[in-house]
Structure formats: C-alpha cells, structure tokens
Symmetry: C2
Subunit: 461 residues, 2 copies
C-alpha cells in the first residue's frame, strides 16, 4: 500500500493535471471503484481519476510510475473475478469519460472507440447504419473491460469472442507511453500478435484506451426459437449434432429446469419446466427458414418439443429478454441471497458429462444452483444462491466450484470461458496451463511491467 503522504502528494499532482473534477478521494467513490459484481472481497483504491483523453491517461500512469503507485483500470465494474479490486491500493483509472465513438466505417466493417464506450452505447450508434457489434456479455460493460477480460457471451458460437473481434488497440504502457497494436488490415503476418496479447490481459500489461473492432451487417432475417428436452444430455446431444452438420447457429443457450422455472416466474411465461435450448439463426429469409427446419428435425430426433420460432422483432426481444433476465430471475427465487457465478468451458464432447457431474455435486452438497450455458462453445455457468451470513454454505459452494474447475481442466477445458482470472482464479492458472506456460506469462509480465504496478495481484499467481 502506498504511504499516506505519497497518496496526498499524488492527489495534488493529479488534480493539477486533470482538474479537481477529474480526481476523487470520497469514501463512496473509492468503495464503488473497489467492488465488482462478484463474491470476492472488495478492495478500494486510494484515489480514483477520471481521465478524458489518452494524454491524461499517460499523465496519470507517469505520475504513478514515478511514485511507485499501483494502477487499476476501471470500466463499468461489472466483472466477476475481482478484477478491479485495488489489492495493493493505489490509483483507480475510471475510463468512463473516454466514451467517444471515434469512427464508424461500414465500408471496411470496423469501428474505433474509446475504452469507456459501453456495449449498449455502441449498439445504439450502429443500429441505424444497418450493422452491429456481435460480442454480448449480457452486462452493459465497457469495450475496454471487454477487451481486458476477453469477454464473449451468447453470440460467440457464430461470431467469436473479443479475441476474434478486436482488430487493433491503443494502449498506455506501464512506462506511460502510447503503444499501437495491429493495423486496420483484416489480416497480417507482420510480427508478434500484440493485439491478442493485450486482449485478456486484464490491465496487467498496460491500459487499453482505444479499440478498433469488427462490425457485421445486420442479418436480413433473424429467427429465434425455444425448445425443451427430456434431459440435459438430450439437449447437449442436439447441439453437438447441429454443430457437426454445420448449421451456422448465431446463439445456442441451454437453461436447466431450475433456471426455466425462474425465468417463467420472472417473465410471466409458461415454458415447460425442463432443460431448454434458446436458439437464434441469422441469414437470408430462405436460408434461415431452411436452417430452422434442419434444426427442428435434429431436435426432434433427440426428443425435443416442437419448436416455436419467433421471427418478429417483438417476439425475439421478449424471448431474449427472458433469457437475459435469467440472473435476476434466479436471485428472486431465494430472496436475501447473493449470486455466486461460476464459468467453466470444456470441449463440447465432454459437456454433458461435465454438467451431469456438476449437477450431482450441487445436489449432494445440498446447494441451490441452476445452470445456464453457452453450450455451442462448451461454456456453462452455475449461479449459486448463497446466504451471505451462512459460512458453511459458502464453504460448500467453494468446494463444489473447486471440483467443477478441476473437472473442466481434466476434461481438456478451462477454468474460465469468458469471465477472466481477476484475483479469484489465479490459483488455477498453473493447473490449467502448466508450470512452463505460467512462467512464460510471468516473463512477459516482467518484461512489459518490470515495476509490477499494473493491476497487481491479477491474472498471475
């Protein structure tokens, strides 16, 4: 933790640079900036700054560097593994004032935005242009935060994650210099892939201040559907067949029976209380119609109910609104509890087995945790509902989560499909990647941030 005198001096210096409105040391502001939406203990920073330009970020990093002060970047605060906790105190760099959409190019199908632009803000700007940015993690996260955690969500099965959809980045380095990665070319073999190195680095290698992203033409036709299955196994088998045959699903979400019950209650719906797939197809009118029929046929082979295809915007909005409200719906099932969300991802051939063993664990531990999955990617979340005062319950949740992560890694998968490592999952990194890979990651961290000031305590164990 920086000494109080250093913090005082730094605050004065930063106020001189950013103006007094650009710096805050108020208790509420500090507390809000040390907390995310996770279960992990929050840790407030000593100072929060609100830079409005790349140059102001440079000034902040330079000042921190000279005083040896840790730096934690902050977007919407919606991350789930303690990414923004200021574990060693220091300066939180809130990027939400850097929220300009700098360039929209429907010819080259790319946009450049400042890191503080939120997903929904970008969506609204792109809608009238007939294009969209596909990565949708649910929360209205900032693009900078989504770059940091290598976010994905419901559409990754078709459009990929942030890994595939970031074209180029502007980063303020640990040395307080401006580094640009990538060009606007769609592909390049010119040197090491720094863009992909910063995507998913969670602010530990530098602060992402601008991002160039791929966009896509809004499909001519979109069709969404809901289909229930006799078992999770049957639903997953349906997904595997769908992917093997090459139907280009835009979304394939699985909700288990508990989650469906919650969704019905929350949204006043009457879906069967059974494992259910929410699907979406994008394409031409006839293409979508043909693919819908093919998907329905595969579903029927696995005991799926009749598909109810929703082709109008209103129907689809209702359907996906219900899906996206899943988290709140689940929380409402057990008032007074808080959600504890897990995030493993496995090869799809092991998904049914992984979910079944997880379900058994949950039941044996006497816990309450519905499952929802981006099953086209092999990624699923358990939302444990936990009484914050029941230590024994928390312990059991942690045990089941630990087993789930170890199982996923054993099955050739990962401890986190899309939420990131933060400080909640650093202890799984060696188990997943092995000693040699983690050592290589640490060498890279030391090379780019030798003083260790960039979001310390995150990603690496």
């Amino acid at each position: 933790m920086p000494a109080a005198a250093i913090v005082d001096q730094l605050a004065v210096r930063l106020s001189a640079t950013l103006g007094s409105g650009g710096v805050s040391r108020g208790d509420d502001v500090l507390r809000a900036h040390g907390s995310d939406e996770s279960w992990h203990p929050p840790a407030p920073p000593d100072i929060v700054v609100f830079p409005a330009s790349v140059d102001e970020v440079v000034a902040v990093v330079s000042a921190c560097r000279e005083t040896g002060t840790p730096i934690v970047p902050f977007g919407a605060g919606t991350s789930l593994e303690g990414h923004i906790a200021a574990l060693q105190g220091g300066v939180c760099v809130d990027l939400t004032r850097m929220n300009r959409i700098l360039r929209v190019d429907v010819g080259d199908m790319d946009v450049t935005v400042e890191a503080g632009v939120t997903r929904k803000q970008l969506e609204a700007r792109l809608l009238p242009e007939g294009v969209f940015f596909p990565v949708d993690p649910g929360a209205d996260a900032t693009i900078g935060g989504m770059v940091g955690t290598r976010a994905s969500g419901t559409t990754a099965v078709r459009y990929g994650t942030m890994r595939e959809n970031v074209v180029a980045l502007t980063v303020v380095t640990a040395q307080g210099r401006i580094l640009r990665t990538g060009s606007r070319a769609r592909k390049s073999s010119a040197g090491y892939d720094l863009t992909r190195l910063f995507v998913g680095s969670e602010g530990t290698l530098g602060i992402v201040v601008e991002a160039t992203l791929r966009i896509f033409p809004t499909p001519e036709a979109i069709s969404a559907a809901v289909c229930s299955f006799p078992s999770v196994d049957a639903a997953v088998a349906c997904v595997v067949d769908t992917i093997q045959i090459g139907i280009p699903m835009a979304r394939i979400e699985l909700l288990d029976e508990i989650e469906m019950d919650a969704v019905n209650r929350r949204s006043g719906l009457a879906y069967p209380v059974a494992p259910t797939l929410f699907l979406e197809l994008h394409g031409s009118e006839s293409g979508v119609a043909e693919q819908s029929a093919a998907a329905a046929e595969i579903a029927a082979e696995h005991g799926g109910s009749d598909f109810a295809w929703a082709t109008t915007q209103e129907e689809r909005t209702r359907l996906w609104h219900a899906r996206h409200e899943g988290y709140e719906a689940v929380l409402a099932l057990r008032p007074g509890t808080r959600g504890y969300v897990t995030d493993v991802c496995v090869p799809i051939s092991r998904l049914a087995e992984c979910m079944a063993e997880t379900r058994r664990d949950i039941e044996e531990a006497g816990l309450f945790g519905p499952i929802v999955g981006h099953v086209g990617d092999g990624n699923f979340h358990v939302t444990f509902l936990v009484d914050p005062d029941a230590d024994d319950e928390i312990r059991r949740v942690e045990e089941v989560t630990e087993r789930m992560v170890r199982r996923a890694i054993e099955f050739g998968g990962t401890c986190t499909g899309e939420h990131g490592v933060g400080y909640g999952k650093t202890r799984y990194l060696e188990l997943e990647h092995g000693d040699e890979a983690v050592q290589a990651m640490r060498s890279i961290k030391d090379a780019l941030d030798p003083a260790g000031l960039m979001n310390p305590g995150k990603v690496l164990p």
Copy 2:
C-alpha cells in the same frame, strides 16, 4: 557463426542422440535447408537434424543452448521472406519426420498434428471423415510452418487465418522445455494468449512441435464461379458490396488481365483477358443457389460478365487448379526469369486505389508484374518476373516494392498479409507498428529467448 570445433562436437553429440540418420552435414542437404522459395540470398546451416519426437527436439535445443548455437526450424521450405535462412549458421531443425496426425475428433471439430504434417496430408486424412481444415496457402506447407508465418490464403475471408484456426500448441522453448499453450476449450479467458503469441512468431520464440487445429464440416454444396470485369476498380467495388451485404463468400480471388492471360495459356482456357474474380460459396444447396444469384446481381451492377457457376467437383477442380497454377503460369510468360512475390494487405476501402497506384508504378518502372489478390481480405500479390542477371531490373523491382509497402502502411494496412517477416521485411516493422510496439516485441523476445538463439535475425529489426 559457431566455430568449426563447436560444430564438430555438436554434430557428434546430436548423432549420439538422434542416430546418424537423424543428422546431416552434406553440402546438398545444407544448401537445400538454407533456401526457401524467395528472392532473398540463402544461408545454409552448419548441421541439419531430423528429430522424430518432441523429446528429440528438446535434446537438440538443449545441446544448442549449451553450446550457444543458433537454431532454425524448417518445414517444407516454401516460405517467401528468407525465414529459414541460417543467417548466423547453426542447426536447422527439419521437422518433416514429425508427421503424425495424432488425433481427429469430428465431435469436437478439432485435430492434433505434429508440426511436420503437411496441409495436403491433413486434407487427405480428413476427406473421408466429411470434414476439412480450411487454411490453404497454396503451397503444400507444413502445419508448423503455417503456424510460424500466420499463414492464410484463398479461404481466409470465410474461415480466417491460422490466427483463428489454431486452438492450442506444444512448443519447445529456448530453454529446451516443453510448453503447452491453450486448452481444447473453444474459448477461454484464462491468462495471456500464448497460442496467438506463438502463431506468427516464425520460430523466434520457440519451436512449435504440435498443433491442435479447428476443422469444419465439408459443406453440403459448393459452387464456384468466374466473372470478368471492365476494370480492377469495378471488380473490387463488386467485392466491397458483396461483403457489406453479408454474402458469406468462401473465396474471392482477383486476377488481373495479365494473370488471366497467363492462366489461359497455361491451362488451355479461353477466359476473357480482363480483371476477373474467382468466387466460391459454401453452404446448403438452396443457400448456395440463393447466394450465387445475389452475387451475380451485384456483379452485373458493376459491369461483370455473366457468371458461369461450376457446381460439380470436376468443374471446380479445373477452375481452382487454374487459379492455383497462376504462379507457374506467370513464370512461363517470361522464360528464364524468376518470380519475386510481394504481399501487402490494406483495408478493403483502399484496395482499388492501392492496386491502381501499384499498377502505375509497375508500368512506369517498365516492369512485368501481374497482380493476384485475396481481395475479400484486402490482400494482394504482385509477381514480378525478374531476370536474375539484370541488376538494374532487380533494383527497380525493389524500389516499386518499397513504395508498395509504404503505401499499404500509409493506407492503414500491413507490409505482409500472410507471408511473414522473415529477414526480408524486418526493416518495415517500425514503420508499420511504431517504435513502442517494436520495443514491446523485442522485450518479449528477450524474455522468452534471452540468449537470442531462436531463428536469429528474423521478425525483429
């Protein structure tokens, strides 16, 4: 260059490990392993080794490390920027004995192969399974080489490059240890993206010995077509519209009139001698039919000739064979010359302009250089035909190439879309990426290969 005595000792030691058949110092072998298909001066290694296993690669790297001997990995030798030239001598690690396909999984749609497996070998193995690996650089390169150069080719517009299609890697590090990157999960947010860091690193950070790759279901229907245009501008405008409207082209290749003339002569065809698009669509029967019609309509708007769609395997094979023979076809136009191939890539909105200015440069310099482009990606190649004895001609080719690269970078593009940096393009790296990014790349190189033994003189200036 290692001293002769060290080379002698090392050869003895390596022979003891790999057997005498696993080590060669024959002149022809050394010469063949120091030359690629480029114009750059070759540089033979001192020793060539042919390891048959990961452990043997570890043994080779360890021996080289202890003696401070440079290490250059080698696949098919088809690279184009001097990647495999042993600029400081040392040991060439020929990976072609490591050519086992270790695992094919059509459930998870991935395969794991040793680095020496060639593209066509993999294609043949996957064909009966009803799946395919999409990255096709033309040459029958090894997968290891394609990983190293971040290769792509005609299908990148639909399926992406090696960047998108490598799931995980096994690498022998500069320390002679085995590092595994990635898991088999389709996505992950667990730590720095080492997989993408090694893809495109050209053997300068370690030796890729195994790769897990994505595969795709063979499309139900494939349709290919040829369409000629009044000008390169018109052809490119057609491509831009096609992409903007979201037609999922599997290939979009542009050949200029000189290239078409060459192709006609070589393959006994009678296509109009005009800028021409070679297209391919993948999907269901009706989907492909619908997209063909939409593409034809857009082409007609830009003055394109009637499409001749080839839907049978034989017709398509003939068509793409003609396209793939383009290089040989062009060489045949001026017997006694050698090809000098360039490789820029720009945002597609600047492509027509970039090609037009390049064409003007070529004419003004009195050079002969047909253009062929993966235009869906904004990537194109000029194949200069150069008399190896005409120094003045070589100088003019180099000048035009230099201008082409600078123009591409100025247009927001890259000095190499798919061939890589090798030692032929190191001098453009700072121009393209800026000082700060190149310094970051160098820090990473120093962190992972502190002794600088891994393919020295490549990638970094």
